[in-house]
């Protein structure tokens, strides 16, 4: 078994208030962050010849949101950024060309209260958002930054904390304060509908992440556990693993490819990182043996943001950067980490 170490490669204290979320651009060397200070910041990153990771602030977008920007998400092309704000709106941001300012090319109104999460589908043709009004909205992305509402799903009985699109199919997952996770697909002759409700968590489900292999879903909860759900067949998903260890709420989970290896007779699935109220970054190596998922804790980094909560963790998805992840904390700081074997 390889033993891994995590080390902080950059510390970015660019925000004036708690940082809620970070998101890696899928194509460009860009990292976006958002904060209670209502700004979005973009960072460049690269490696020095010696292989050292360098991250620097490149641009600040004063979003014009009147409240906290709670989440950020890139389109698969990496050309568009979406922001979800407690002012109940979604902002859509683009550059006219590579050098110009990031401008607001659209706002999506509809949520009644705080918007909590936003994300583009794998093809970039759909955008989903959720919020405290218990709803999940799906928008179709049309040319010229035009959007049309295709569905308003009112399945949850409480605040919806998070949405996540499946990485290769049009399946949407949402997680809620009602302790459940719901999965939706489109009925082309009618509307989107919830085809499955995943129950098991005993408190708020804060975060969702699909595995790079597409057949697992991980969820982080206020019940201090992470659950892993496996696609048993077609549209049947079942809880197959419960990961314990966090001493407080798990606020965010992220699944990266990493560069681990499976032992003989096992399939390698990826690395799963989790963060939360206990300030600890935990990373699990997930493998599969005869179709059964297994997780081995490979990293436990305490005090990753001092005494502060860690709100978001994201693995970088770009090739060559699979071992790099970013975290955002209540201390207003973003840290970039690298895992080495």
């Amino acid at each position: 078994m390889t033993s891994y170490k995590i080390h902080c490669v950059a510390e970015l204290s660019a925000h004036d208030d708690r940082v809620w979320d970070v998101s890696w651009n899928p194509n460009e060397p860009l990292l976006a962050s958002c904060s209670a200070d209502k700004n979005v910041r973009l960072y460049n990153y690269s490696r020095t010849e010696a292989g050292k990771v360098k991250v620097s602030l490149y641009h600040t977008i004063p979003t014009g949101h009147t409240k906290t920007v709670r989440a950020v998400g890139w389109s698969p092309s990496g050309k568009t950024l979406a922001t979800a704000s407690f002012d109940s709106n979604i902002g859509i941001w683009e550059q006219e060309d590579g050098d110009s300012e990031w401008e607001c090319v659209g706002t999506l109104e509809g949520h009644e209260t705080e918007c909590k999460s936003v994300g583009y589908s794998n093809t970039g043709t759909l955008l989903a958002s959720c919020g405290r009004d218990k709803t999940v909205w799906i928008w179709e992305v049309l040319p010229d930054s035009e959007f049309e509402c295709v569905s308003v799903l009112m399945e949850h009985t409480q605040d919806v904390k998070c949405i996540a699109w499946h990485p290769s199919e049009e399946i949407l997952a949402s997680a809620s304060y009602d302790d459940t996770i719901k999965l939706y697909i489109d009925d082309p002759s009618d509307d989107w509908y919830c085809f499955s409700t995943l129950t098991g968590h005993t408190s708020t489900v804060w975060s969702l992440a699909w595995s790079p292999t597409h057949h697992y879903l991980a969820s982080g909860s206020d019940d201090r556990t992470i659950r892993i759900w496996q696609r048993i067949e077609g549209h049947k998903w079942e809880n197959v693993l419960i990961l314990e260890g966090h001493e407080r709420s798990v606020y965010s989970v992220s699944w990266g490819r990493g560069n681990g290896k499976a032992a003989e007779g096992e399939e390698y699935i990826g690395w799963l990182a989790s963060v939360g109220g206990d300030g600890v970054i935990r990373v699990w190596e997930v493998t599969e043996e005869k179709g059964k998922a297994k997780a081995r804790k490979m990293i436990e980094k305490k005090g990753s943001h001092g005494v502060h909560d860690v709100n978001s963790v994201r693995f970088c998805g770009r090739e060559g950067w699979e071992t790099v992840l970013a975290t955002a904390g209540d201390d207003g700081i973003i840290r970039v980490w690298e895992i080495a074997g």
């Binding site: 708690r18 209670a36 014009g64 409240k67 906290t68 407690f86 109940s88 006219e96 401008e103 607001c104 090319v105 659209g106 706002t107 109104e109 509809g110 009644e112 209260t113 705080e114 909590k116 405290r132 009004d133 218990k134 010229d144 930054s145 035009e146 959007f147 049309e148 509402c149 295709v150 569905s151 308003v152 009112m154 409480q158 605040d159 304060y177 009618d190 509307d191 708020t204 206020d222 407080r248 709420s249 606020y251 109220g277 909560d309 209540d330």
Partner: protein
Amino acid sequence: MQANWSIGDFNFYRDYLSALVKDDYLRNTQSLTMTFSGALTLTDLNDFISPSQACIKPVQQSNSEVPEPGGATTEIRIDSSGGYYEVSSSQTQRKLEQAQISLNDCLACSGCITSAESVLITSQSHAEVLAFLAANENKAVPVISIAPQSLASLAASLPASVTLHQVLRRVRTFCKEALGFAHVFDITFARHVSLKEHVREFEERRQASKLPMMASACPGWICYAEKAHSEMLPYISRTKSPQQVMGTLVKYWLGEKWEKRPNEIYHVTVMPCYDKKLEASREDFRNEEYATRDVDCVITTGELDLMMRDKGWDLSVPVIGESDDEEDDVFPTLLQHPGSSSGSYLQAIVNHVVKTWPVPLEASVKIVRNADFEEYTLQERDEGKIVFKGAKCYGFRNLQNVVRKVGKGDGLTGRRKARKEAERGYDYVEVMACAAGCVNGGGQLKRGEGNREWTKEVEGAYWRSGRTTEEGIADELALEVMGQELEFRTQYRAVESDVIGTAVKW
């Protein structure tokens, strides 16, 4: 806050603060429970907008003590039985009242949207109707007016050979014999008047270049626009809905004929929609002088069905002479307005434009996204010039798209704003909050899970009138009532919120 913390306290406080900040604080607050009566339980409703997560009203406690700057003087504790106590700095405890929420609170607050259902149960229900009739002793003339969509819902559960007209006759017999109503009307003549007024208003707005005009008959839409999209209000037609036109006709036009004051008539309507209860409750439709409303009580199709069941009335049994032609009771009955089963507002406007345009026009229809969102375009047959663009837009998701299209794109920068300004917008939009429109209203009879199939059956039944009423007669009478000093317009006001969403400032 000055205090000696123990580690335990600290952890508790930390968790509490963390929960507050992470917006998870609601776990610690009492959730609002609302009691739905059996008939009013909403199920399987695609487009129902449910009450907000937590009504903010209960947390608005007036606190007479002036807190020290920066110091919390009281906290709220919960005892083992779930009681809430306010504990002041001097450790005195005061049990907090359970929140009471009135209809007015709900109307004045934008915390929830269309939560009317739960609040209006006691003030407008079939039980209220029965109680009134039992205590009436001939003091007020009881009148009931029924929406054609409600008749269609009832007809759909009967064999397809039963027409709307036959259902009306059966319901009329029930309302007169079993309940004691003096008059039983259908609401289509009021709609006839409403459509004419609507067309008149469209013409006024077109001449004043104040288009688009949007339909005003759907109270769910009105309520939503007033609370969430006040920028839409100037575009919404001020013509009263058929229900409220009926209210005016019954209380004032018929009242005068019958020599009855408005409070000497008890007017009930049967509607496919819960939100109609909210509409009837608007202060604009209340007469302060006589302390009476134009529509005293609104019941849903489901509630009428429940009353028939309670009285052992079988709607599948024909009544004597139900297929015969009959003399109309004051108003022409069951006027068909071809177009849509939600009132044909767009069609009425289209017909008007075609009829009044100096050269022949050609109409084309385009389905935008689904059957609930269609665009109608009128072009000059020879020149091809577009002279009118309208849309029919039903359901919450389509409503969002219309609001986006009609809105001026405030907050947009540069390119998109310019493009939006260059687009040719709609002249008219028939907006309904429910998917599939009024035949699928929240107050209609429900059948199993297959909501869509059932809605199709109701739609089919809606057009099986079984009788053609001469429009000429209706036009003549409409002209007569529209020549009286009766008010067929109303107004809207934005519901400003001082308490939107959360009590916590971020």
